[in-house]
Each structure stands twice: as structure tokens, then as C-alpha cells.
Point group: none
Chain length 265, copies 2
């Protein structure tokens, strides 16, 4: 990865939250801590951001009210490192020019930073994802129409006849409430409906799920395991869960916090 690329990712991440730590930026870029520190020092000299202990912050006082509601903000701070490494591995699957769908969620939101250096066609139902990519990247952004639900920051339409049906993508990326033998689990029936609609528009289905998601069960099954093409998770995945995915012929990618990632099956 080139220096400028890292710089863009760092600036993107710094805009997103009040302070971005060195470790977070390592996960997002795949670079070492030493390099990130050097980058932060450089950007500090260029007045692009402010250097603080532990990481970096935006040069301008961050707006008081975040777009993300409280729920979103709280979730965002949980298991951040894993989510970032997973998100980076997800973006590594993409190349410039790809058409992809990104379903809203706190894990998939982390994809926006590595995506800052890409130029893809991105369809999403997430307002924050669209907003960030619009501001900090040159990707083409397409948005689904409908009502914006503040709780989840997602745009939902009760109607079947929206633009969603006109966008077809190579890959769709989504998070999950839980992953079990029955398949991909979700909690909210409204979300289920929207996500199923999106899934139908993509060829491959890539699920971003940190390892805790294999322990959680939820009430509603979104789709069976064999519909999933790839699962990206972190090192905490159990052998049992890995075997389950293997049996369903799902490609498993284990994102390493540091740099590379390991494809298992």
C-alpha cells in the first residue's frame, strides 16, 4: 500500500470519530505501528490533523451531534479492532470498478475507510455509509429510497418497486446478528425484509461477523448458510464454528489484526 493511500485512510478515519488510535489505524491500513506514527507525524506537520497521545484527532473541533444516534455510537465502540480488521479484509476483495452492495451496520461501516482509496460503484441502504463515502471518497454512490430509520440509520422502503431492483452487483457485504447452523440470523423483521431484497440483487454474499456472532442466536433466519459465499471473521472463531461453515461450503477468511489475512477453506 502506498503512503498516500494510508494518508487518505487515516484522514477518513479521523473525520469519522473524535480520535483514531494508532492500533485502529493499523487494522484499517495493515501497516505497522511505527509507520502509522510516522504518517501521523507527517500529517500533523501538514496541518491535516492533530497529533495526540494514542493516535490522532481531526484538526477542526468535531461537530457536537453525530449523525449516528446513540445506539449506533455505542455499538461502534465495541470490538472495534476486530471489526476494522474484518472490514479491511472485506475491502481487499474489491477492485476498482467493482459494483458492490453494502448493507448498513456497524461492522460494514468500517469498510468506508479502506474504501476511501477505491473507485467502485457502491449501492447501500445506510445513510452514514453513503454520507462518509460521499465526503471522503470518489466512489460512485447509489442509495436506496425510503424512510430513514434513525435507530439503525438505515433507509427502508415498504415497497418492492424501488431502485434496489435495478441495481445488480457482483458482491454484497453485510453484517449479522448471529451465525448458526440454521444460517444467518437477524433480530428485526423489518431488517430481514430489506436485507432479503438486497441479497437477491447480488451474486456473491460476503458476511462480516466477528467471532462472537457464532455464539449468539437470534429469533429469525435470514438465509441458509449455503447461500453465503464467504464469511470474514477474526481469530477468535472456534473450530466447531469453522467446521460448520466448511460443511456448508462457505469460504472462511480469518482477518489478522496486524497485516495479512488467512484463508482457511
Amino acid at each position: 500500500m502506498h503512503e498516500k493511500e494510508r494518508h487518505r485512510i487515516i484522514l477518513s478515519a479521523v473525520q469519522d470519530r473524535p480520535v483514531a488510535t494508532v492500533v485502529e489505524l493499523c487494522n484499517l491500513t495493515g501497516a505497522s505501528e511505527a509507520t502509522i506514527r510516522r504518517d501521523i507525524a507527517t500529517l500533523h506537520m501538514q496541518q491535516k490533523l492533530r497529533r495526540v497521545r494514542g493516535g490522532a484527532e481531526a484538526i477542526n473541533p468535531p461537530p457536537f451531534v453525530g449523525l449516528a444516534g446513540r445506539t449506533f455510537a455505542v455499538n461502534e465502540t465495541m470490538r472495534t479492532s476486530e471489526k476494522q480488521a474484518i472490514a479491511r479484509a472485506a475491502v481487499d476483495l474489491c477492485e476498482d470498478g467493482d459494483s458492490i452492495i453494502i448493507n448498513g451496520g456497524t461492522t460494514t461501516f468500517q469498510m468506508v475507510h479502506p474504501l476511501a482509496t477505491r473507485r467502485c460503484q457502491i449501492f447501500t441502504n445506510s445513510f452514514p455509509i453513503a454520507e462518509h463515502l460521499l465526503k471522503h471518497s470518489k466512489n460512485t454512490i447509489m442509495l436506496s429510497g425510503g424512510t430513514i430509520y434513525r435507530e439503525q440509520n438505515i433507509i427502508l422502503s415498504p415497497f418492492d418497486n424501488d431502485v434496489t431492483r435495478n441495481f445488480y452487483a457482483k458482491r454484497m457485504f453485510m453484517g449479522a446478528q448471529g451465525l448458526g447452523p440454521l444460517g444467518l440470523m437477524e433480530a428485526d423483521p423489518l431488517l430481514i425484509q430489506a436485507e432479503q431484497k438486497l441479497i437477491g440483487q447480488a451474486d456473491e454474499l460476503v458476511v462480516l461477523a466477528d467471532s462472537s456472532k457464532f455464539e449468539r442466536r437470534s429469533s429469525l433466519v435470514l438465509c441458509p448458510l449455503n447461500r453465503i459465499t464467504t464469511v470474514i471473521t477474526d481469530e477468535g472463531i472456534s473450530d466447531k464454528a469453522a467446521a460448520m461453515l466448511d460443511a456448508a461450503d462457505v469460504t472462511l477468511v480469518v482477518a489478522q489484526p496486524g497485516s495479512g489475512q488467512e484463508e482457511v477453506s
Copy 2:
């Protein structure tokens, strides 16, 4: 391949992305790394680009496009006080609970501030309007689906079958490029299409146009004057323009910069 040809390719690639690596340019041109380096050195001397380790970057600082594109930002500062008074008069037509449509534009954008205290159902095709209302108001926000055009900050869909067709509103608010005897004028055919679609979904049509718009003519007619229910403008409106609106049975509201506004016909 000729030298000039490579130079064009290199400059094109550099404009396109923040940084183009030597290897990338080799693949694009078929030349060797040594040649590409020489080319970059030459172009660097000519100030056509900047030479950096790993490749080359555009000479101008990477235009980190704010959410508001330049066009938008520039327009936004023009005739602001008039626009604000007009926008406030427009919001005064609304009551809590109303369903309204707001077409994107710099004048209509000013409506977001008075709308902060309302609780309406608002359908819009403008990303900045949706963003602001989402962050700073409790209105219910509905968004049209489609591609986000950065220049205008508007969401457009080439398809007819989007959620727009499922939202019906009492009023639609829109700006205008110009207002003449032929009707409401617009410059961009793409916008025309989107706006006509929206107009069909509302009962009343309220046009926000500062008085300079009566002098400007544009190439495309969006709709005839008699389709317009109300025009809100500022004190600068000429008698001739007022008479024209009166003849078309359009209610004219003159927004006073200070507080109240004056209904003329």
C-alpha cells in the same frame, strides 16, 4: 507508443486517482519502469504533476470534495439573506404533521433551519437536506433512491419505478433556474426529468425564487405557470413579473427580510 501518448496516459491516470504508481503506469502504457520514471521526471519539470516516491500525484491538492460540491457551496453564499427570508416564508406554510416534498437546491436548502422545530413528513431528493434534517430535527425523513450526483448533491434515478411514486404530499417546494411567461425554467435535462416526476406526486406546487430569477431565462420549460400554486420571492420583484403571475392565477408571497411577509394576490 509515442512519448506524448504515454504522457497523456500518465496525466489521465494521475488526475483520476490520488496517486498513480510506477507499476500501474507500466501496465497502462506497456513501457518499462525506467521509461515511466523518465516520463514522470519530465512531467515533473513541466509542473504537470508532482513526483513522489512510488509514482506521481496530481499537482493540485487532492480536492477532498466536501459534501457540498463547489458549485453548491458557491451558490449557497449568493443572495443568502433573500433566500433565507423566502425559505422561512415557505416553512411558514407548513404545520406539524404535514407531508411535504422538498426538491433539492440552494434556496430550498435554507428551509432546513426553520424546519428544525417542526415535525413533518419530508420527502426529498437532496442529500444535504436529508442529512441536515436528520441531524438537527425530529422530522420524519424519506429519501428518493438512486445515484448521488456530487455536483448538485441530488439523488437521481433513471428508473420510473422508485419510491417516489409511493409518496404523496400536500405540497411540494422547489427552486427554479428562471421564471418566465412560458413557465418554470430549468437548465439540466436530467433535473427536469426528476423534478417532473416529483411534481406529479404533490397537490400544491410552491416555487421559491428570489427576484433575480424573473430576469433569467433558461432553455428548458419544466411546467407552465398555471401549474404553480404559490410563488415566494423577495421585495425586488418587478410589477411586470407580479402581473404575469397574477394573470396565471398564481398566489404571490413576498417575503420580507425582517419578520413577516406580505401576500399580494
